[in-house]
């Protein structure tokens, strides 16, 4: 009998250890999988459902820079200030358009007091350069363009055409 009991003990203790170990591993794996799942599905927490991935991804750092530009306005020099007010004067508040160039429509939006460029083409940099060149032709200094302030966004058509590319859209003029 003793021999039988001694033989049985080691057999029964081993599976208990294994079960505990396997349970711990399973729990750990579940936690890891949960974290991975959360990471893979951004915006899906607590029942919230992000409606869609945007057609074009924006450069987050430059968006933050834009926010600081509009909230902490730098003062334009005298000449730039004068030209800026002349440009503003001719704008119809109904359509907010300053000038409609082939690649970009420049708008002045009165309430936030900003200039916006609606990019109409997939040649984003060319459109930005055109807008900057237009302001320079009016007499605004290169430095002054950043202080206007001026920022860009994509029209629905341009965004749709760019949605299949991996572009990270920068809303600011290149030199700002």
């Amino acid at each position: 009998m003793d021999e039988v009991i001694q033989n049985q003990k080691p057999q029964s203790r081993l599976p208990v250890k294994n079960i505990a170990f396997l349970t711990a591993c399973g729990l750990l794996l579940a936690v890891i999988l949960f974290i991975i799942l959360i990471r893979l599905l951004p915006g899906t927490t607590g029942g919230e459902v992000a409606q869609s991935t945007p057609p074009v991804q924006y450069d987050v750092k430059r968006q933050e820079q834009l926010l600081s530009i509009v909230s902490d306005r730098e003062v334009l020099n005298e000449e730039d200030t004068l030209i800026r007010s002349q440009i503003k004067q001719g704008v119809d508040p109904e359509n907010e358009i300053v000038i409609d160039l082939p690649t970009v429509t420049i708008e002045y939006v009165a309430s936030p007091d900003v200039f916006q460029g609606a990019i109409k083409t997939t040649e984003v940099n060319e459109a930005k350069e055109d807008a900057v060149a237009w302001f320079e032709e009016q007499g605004i200094s290169r430095e002054g363009i950043c202080k206007l302030p001026l920022f860009f966004y994509l029209t629905a058509e341009a965004a749709e055409n760019l949605s299949k590319t991996k572009i990270i859209f920068d809303p600011l003029p290149t030199q700002c």
Partner: protein, 377 residues
């Protein structure tokens, strides 16, 4: 016998003379080919057309005719020099025009419109134009009313290059995508733009650095005058709808607001701006009113990313960015649903109500609803 021997010699000599006359085509010193008579030299600082060169066609027959021909083509056949003509190449800008991106010749361009040169070169000289640096370089200037000095580089970086120009060589080079011979323009620089209305003088200058010796260098430039105009700004058409402006959530309408909105959504209506009273300024004011602390974040970060073009009628279900998780799709400025996540998850309403819904939903939950608000997650 002696006399008859001399006769034979005379006959042989005569035969040789006759044979050589037949072989040379009856005109010793002239071979078949096209001969271009030297053109009257003229300074081409104006836009008057150049008189086409008069060509002398020499046939294989003993008859020599002098008739005008079609523009001569490039040939590698060495051409003899007609008597009484100064030796040397003579490159001219035979024609200079401006086109738009489709290749259409124009002299009026809108502010910001791309302008492309179309230039024709011709060697009207009596010798091949060969450059010691392998290429003959030419320049285009966007506004240069006075004669450009030798070596003056293009102010807009448009350089044209070509190898040798044979006698009579004539070729057009269009910088627009349709060409012709667009590949001759260097550094992928084909066009320029102007952003101030006015009248300007574009100039073309062949062999601008005078690396190719020419017998006449005064006809290497040609100009064209063009104007830049400011197109009228599009005006917003008055809204024909009756609902009072300023209402928070007027019913969807069929008004496209002068073509501003498409009604490509399951409603088939203008739900986002039914009375056409949304301007960016109004939107910003309303955001300030409803969520002052985050108005800038909504206006500069979330909306242009979620709804490109600040379009209150944006509707998206599937496309380049995949499909929406909500089968009802994403609606409006904040790309919200049709009630799947509660009463405020509604983008299918007018822009003021869209704003109230987004602001309230964010207060009750978090920014995590919006992919474009990642920096606030």
């Amino acid at each position: 016998m002696r006399g008859s021997g001399q006769l034979y010699i005379l006959l042989i000599l005569g035969g040789i003379i006759v044979a050589s006359f037949i072989i040379t085509g009856g005109s010793i010193g002239l071979r078949p080919g096209t001969y271009t008579a030297p053109q009257t030299q003229q300074a081409t600082t104006n836009n008057s057309p150049t008189t086409p060169p008069v060509s002398t066609q020499v046939s294989s027959t003993p008859t020599i005719s002098t008739t005008p021909t079609t523009p001569p083509v490039a040939t590698n056949t060495p051409t003899p020099i007609p008597q009484g003509t100064a030796v040397g190449a003579d490159l001219v800008v035979a024609d200079f025009k401006l086109t738009d991106s489709t290749g259409r010749v124009k002299t009026r361009f809108a502010v910001g419109e791309a302008i492309y040169p179309l230039v024709t070169h011709n060697n009207i000289g009596t010798a091949q134009a060969l450059s010691p640096v392998a290429y003959v370089y030419s320049q285009i200037y966007d506004n240069y009313p006075t004669t450009a000095p030798v070596g003056k580089k293009s102010d807009i970086g448009i350089t044209l290059r070509n190898g040798q120009y044979s006698v009579g060589y004539r070729k057009s080079y269009g910088a627009a995508p349709v060409g012709p011979h667009r590949g001759h323009y260097k550094d992928n620089k084909y066009s320029w733009k102007r952003f101030r209305p006015g009248t300007f003088t574009a100039r073309a200058f062949v062999n601008y650095d005078n690396k190719v010796p020419e017998k006449n260098f005064s006809n290497n430039q040609r100009t064209v005058t063009y104007t830049i105009y400011q197109p009228p700004t599009p005006t917003k058409k008055p809204s024909p709808t009756s609902p009072p402006q300023g209402a928070v959530n007027p019913a969807p309408s069929t008004n496209s607001c002068g073509g501003k909105y498409s009604m490509n959504n399951p409603m088939g209506k203008n739900f986002g701006d039914p009375v056409c009273d949304m301007t960016k300024s109004n939107l910003y004011d309303y955001l300030k009113q409803k969520d002052s602390a985050n108005a800038d974040y909504w206006y500069y970060t979330v909306i242009p990313c979620e709804a490109p073009g600040y379009n209150a009628n944006t509707y998206y279900r599937c496309g380049g960015a995949g499909c929406t998780p909500d089968p009802a799709g994403a609606w409006g400025l904040y790309q919200m649903g049709r009630g799947r996540n509660g009463q405020y998850d509604h983008g299918d309403v007018a822009w003021r109500q869209q704003t109230i819904n987004a602001v309230t939903y964010r207060r009750n939950a978090s920014w995590r609803y919006w992919a474009c608000a990642q920096s606030r997650w």
